[in-house]
């Protein structure tokens, strides 16, 4: 927990699908070697020729969140799970850190006294 979680999520990890709806500055990442773009900026859907989209099935809005079938899935899964785990513990700890409401202190005290008076 001491390890701040922000390190786990780099700015570049934004789901590509979320950006798709918005038109962004015109910029095509086209490395000289003609391979995969270094950075993909997603233009609004109607401006992207459909032929281009065929190569990028993960950008389909109807698909579940970004998943790279050939990626190191195990490692990525662990990162995501760690993030969920941390949030889960935070949500729980948030309530658990609140002071005990008076009603419970009084309730237990009253029960205890009642028990002793029998």
């Amino acid at each position: 927990m001491a390890n701040n979680g922000s390190a786990e999520l780099k700015p570049g990890s934004a789901p590509q699908a979320r950006r798709k709806r918005r038109s962004s500055p015109r910029r095509e990442g086209c490395p000289a070697d003609g391979g995969q773009p270094l950075l993909r900026v997603i233009h609004s859907a109607d401006r992207v020729p459909s032929a281009d989209r065929v190569r990028e099935p993960s950008l389909d809005m109807n698909k579940p969140p970004f998943r790279r079938p050939d990626g190191p899935a195990g490692m990525l899964d662990r990162t995501v799970q760690a993030q969920i785990g941390r949030l889960l513990r935070d949500v729980f700890a948030d309530v658990a850190a609140e002071p005990v409401p008076r009603r419970f202190i009084e309730l237990l005290a009253a029960l205890d006294i009642k028990e002793k008076c029998r």
Binding site: A14, R22, P25, A96, R103
Partner: protein, 187 residues
């Protein structure tokens, strides 16, 4: 009735914060959660004979609380269906900053999970129970708990659109511009 020894009473009091956190995660509402905790403490006190010292008081209280909650749910069936069904369908969480999930986003997603999955996930992932203990608390098989936890995690990933870091080296400056443009456009 033997009653509670002072130490047992103190132990119960010490567990109240945990019980409240569990109750809130189950019903998503602090007032109702506190009513649940109160009922749990009363029931526990009145059936203290059923508790064997040296066994896990925390697990015992959690069991009473969740049984109280679910039997209440059966009485208030309609509300449960609303909680688990229709609300979940139209929920989608779009964190303001890409890659940044705050607690409110997460809470919303957690609340939309079916009650049994949320319970399993909280018991194992937040309250720190083992799968075996969680299974005993929920009165089901260990395998059932495991599959509930897995389904809950999968659904959370989907709802939160958590995307693992991709391999295109993130250019922080450009990413910042893009996210600023995107946020500006959404206002």
């Amino acid at each position: 009735m033997s009653g509670a020894s002072p130490t047992l009473k103190e132990a119960m009091l010490r567990l109240v914060p945990n019980l409240r956190a569990f109750a809130v995660s189950l019903c998503g509402n602090v007032e109702r959660a506190d009513d649940l905790v109160q009922e749990t403490l009363l029931k526990a006190w009145n059936s203290m004979d059923g508790f064997q010292e040296g066994t896990n008081l925390r697990a015992w209280l959690f069991t009473i609380l969740r049984n109280t909650y679910f039997s209440e749910c059966r009485r208030r069936r309609r509300e449960v269906e609303d909680r688990d069904g229709s609300k979940a369908a139209d929920l989608s969480v779009h964190p303001e900053q890409p890659g940044h999930l705050d607690m409110a986003d997460f809470r919303k997603a957690l609340d939309s999970l079916p009650a049994d999955q949320r319970e399993a996930l909280v018991l194992v992932g937040a309250a720190g129970f083992s799968y075996e203990e969680a299974a005993a608390i929920s009165a089901c098989a260990v395998g059932t708990i495991k599959s509930r936890v897995n389904r809950a995690r999968g659904k959370l990933i989907e709802l939160l659109s958590i995307s693992p870091p991709h391999e295109y080296g993130p250019d922080a400056a450009i990413e910042a511009i893009i996210s600023r443009t995107a946020r500006g456009g959404s206002r």
